[in-house]
Amino acid sequence: MRNRPFPRIGVSVLAAVLALGACGTRSEETGATTTLKIGFDAPTTGQLSAVGLGMQHSAEMAVKEANAKNLVPGVKFELVPKDDQATPSIGQQNASAFVADQDVVGVVGAYNSSVSQSMQPTTASANLLQISGANTNPTLTRGAKHKDAPKRPYKNYFRTVTTDAKEAPAVARYAYNELKLKEVATVNDGKVYGLGVIEEFTHEFEKLGGKIVVKQQISDKDTDYSAVVSNIKSSSAQALMYGGEYPQAGPLAKQLKAAGKDIPLLGNDAVYDDEFIALAGDAAEGAYVVTAAEPIGNSQVQQKFVTDYKAASHKEPYGIFGPYVYDATMAIINSVAAVAKAGDGKLPEKPELRAKVTEAAQNVAFDGLTGKIAFDEFGDNKNYSVTMNTVKDGKWSVVGPVG
């Protein structure tokens, strides 16, 4: 009984010492630490979960690195991932949750253009910075009349990837000039992204003198495409341009080949995924798909990213969008850093902080994983490139840059 108080005192002394010690190191290096949150939104369950999780892991790596390198002195970042199930209404709920949390200074996301379309008004209402590493629909930054009279709808929305307005016409030109295709069938999935891709493709392909012989639409809830397939089969189409994502592109290519129409599939970056080859099987062979950049791995920073990603042994690959999401996350962190620098290391109070960060994003400029990151007056990345890829022997291989 007598001995009891001693251990207690011992523990409290120890705790006090530890606490003092902790305070000591903190004040020595950085002053008081604040934790700021970065929201993350992507489909991390369901059909698109492989892409979504690859993006999430990439964003996590960016946050980890920023914290390790202490990019913003005195600020620790924390990623808050949310699943949108590729559904606009859920994305909008997530956006509301991010807006409600005063610690959130920026949002990375979404994957689907349709989801971002629903998130934009919500994040804009709170002046909350939103940067996507995967949205390619041009209207998100340039408004409905993006070709003739571009007008930026939301000042708080930016993206690190290039747009369909650059990618889909590149497919059309490649198909017409290099592959010598004159007649093409198009199929879209009825979503904002898919419709946009086909619109851009058709515009360019017809301008070049090509002909769209079949125009079809499928639903992303469907698995049976036999009606669409038999339409294409009886047409003179030399290739199928698909506007949509790999979970439908794979089976569609497979069913088309099984029906006896052995024509290549053309597509934009949402088709570029190993899962496409797995789903399509033999039918994937000879497919031509553009991506917003070369698969990374050339420069030193890129190699470091690849090694670090491998070391973390995630099941899902970072895919084509992982590096862009990494850069999107870094762009938010750099914006916060710029605000901190302008205030001599002090961040403004919470409600004001968001507006300042969004303002800073417009002028941010840094060397990212995918190249220089800086935004134009619409919020699009100034630096962009488009690369053509094809499936050869069951693997993606790079054809080269296309204009």
Binding site: I218, S226, A227, S230, G260, L279
Partner: protein
Amino acid sequence: MTLTELLQLTTGGVVLGAMYGLIAVGYTMVYGIVQLINFAHGEIFMLGAFGALFVYAWVPALHEISLWLALPIMLAAGTVISVVAAVAAERFAYRPLRGAPRLAPLITAIGLAIVLQQLIFLYAPLRELRDDRWETTVGAKQPQLFPQLPGEALQLGGVTVQWADVLTLGFAVVAMLGLAYFVRRTRTGRAMQAAAQDPDIARLMGIDVDKIIVIAFAIGGALAAAAGLAHGLRYGQITFDMGFIAGLKAFTAAVLGGIGNVYGAMLGGIVLGVVESLAAGGLSYVDAVQQFGGGAWKDVWAFVVLILVLLIRPRGLLGERTGDRA
């Protein structure tokens, strides 16, 4: 549109319809006896497909032999899982609610459907061949690849027919012949007819109605499993939520054919499949209505046909066969 194209679309529609029909039989038999719309039946179909995939993934010996030889084992495994799930659902979810207001078991069925979906989504023990290596994963969070039948598709005068299509039609024919024999000629089958007409009188005549209900669930489960296997072989992938749409279509087929009527369920399925296929494929050839064709509109036409049939023949194509419950 040429004749060949018309035939191609019709063939596709018949095969799709046969699959709907196989699932619809389960809806209709159960409804005929207990007047329950078993909305979890689509999930029983999904479980059948996953059961077949489980045995294929976990028994390495099956990878060595031709898929044709592995099929009976896969079908057996799918059937076991579907039947066990269907019977367990009856025993633990629906039987305690027998005699409760009709809404109670209906809501239970919807709840059960969500539970079964999420179980597969979160806990399905799967193995997948990736880069020549078998990898184990838990939970079907992505579409799962289903093994494919070897061999070229059949060409019948310009119409392409996949081997999986032949198999689907085979399942449907065997199932319908078997059911016809069972219902008309066997003692249990006749007892089932009696229970459907009037369960109380049937019970007075010495029929164990509870047993008959279990058998109805079991038969429905077995046919759904065959449909599940056919779905996997036809489309090459299965997902945890594939039962929802398929179940809805099959329910529509059952109503279209006359609920409670097993032949009606198959006929309703085939009509639905052909309408979908012709509407989606055929309308695209007519310039004036091209925008109403294509895959995006096919569900609309399927339900338009349902509404028309219910307006003109409210009891379905072949007439309802349910007891008098006034």
